[in-house]
Assembly symmetry: D2
Homo-oligomer: 122 residues x 4
């Protein structure tokens, strides 16, 4: 994918040509969310538990509306996770593209906007 | 729960007019979604698998945007499940309340609308 | 449209055959939201004012984020209006179909669910 | 374009300590969405027309579900406008903050994420 290629290219080019290369975390293959990895995994495991809880509710014939309330809670948790991921993406990947200059920033912003649109449409 | 109590109340009010009280599936403790139970559990297990897939993506440092795409898919699957549950709820619980008459229908419709509002706000 | 036809059919049937015809507000051409018409129009005029306010903000080069906050407020107002309309629809049209019995209720519930799905996907 | 100019400036300044601060369009009071102003106003006028259309539908007692369909269309149009505004904001204001460096970028990204969260919650 573009990012990986670009990152790879940047790293191998770095020692040789470009006079003042900006080297960023992203070039080192570190995505924005990397530092919060443990927190993300914990969040996702909690959501997985919520989904298993939903199966229990259905299995025990719990009242429909109470199940719907739980579905809303799980959806909210997923959206929350998405927002945190997005924030880190903007802070690292998008900001990096801006610092490097060139056309990368337009592509990154368009890509991020499309991801936000997908989140909105669900 | 409220439904059962209310149903009981409706039955005791009935003596005036209708000689044969309407007994519905709901009175028999069968919620709307009961008949689709297996399908619901299958859907939820698939969503659980998606959430585990998300953990794998985070663990393997997959590109943020690709993870967000997967989050959107899981959220959509949850919304879809909620809509099916809601449809069955309207068809059974809400319709039953309407058939029985009385104030039950107002409470049921208000409750359903609040559940829809919660889904919309996530 | 189904409703109108059904209402027409019910009206023409009413004097003649059916032994105990249930005549509802809906048969009289009164949709659920009719009684709240003034309130609805007031709400919509307020939303129209919000949209005109947005044009002013754009015209005066107000900061993007402040405009987005206003867009969120307008979207929320529209969703709120939709929820009220939906609640009245469930209380009147859907409940009427349930009382009348027959296949109408299935069609009505399916139609309402599709409308809710459209609201969720925006 | 802003980003590229600013990026160019940043690169040449980089080696030194930058005694000459980077001046961007944003500093000159030009927000990201400025260049698309006419398009934005046209979009908003169209949405205003949709809201007036909704009033007509309510006034003419149109069937509830058909009104809900129109509400969904207006909400979608508003979300679409928001996404375009957001994209320009990310491309200009957020990218500018990244180029300038310092703590500004964190504040900008946090602010943008909160705006996205508000859009999601409506």
């Amino acid at each position: 994918m573009t990012t990986t290629e670009a990152a790879g290219a940047a790293t191998s080019d770095a020692p040789s040509v470009s006079p003042t290369p900006v080297t960023t975390d992203h070039d080192r293959g570190v995505h924005g969310y990397h530092q919060q990895k443990d927190e993300h995994l914990k969040r996702l495991r909690r959501i997985e538990g919520q989904i298993r809880g939903l199966q229990r509710l259905v299995d025990e014939d719990v009242y429909c509306i109470d199940i719907l309330t739980q579905v809303s809670a799980s959806t909210k948790a997923l959206q929350s996770f998405a927002l945190q991921l997005l924030e880190e993406h903007l802070r690292h990947c998008v900001a990096d593209a801006a610092v490097k200059g060139g056309e990368e920033i337009d592509a990154k912003v368009e890509e991020a906007t499309k991801a936000i649109a997908r989140l909105l449409r669900t």
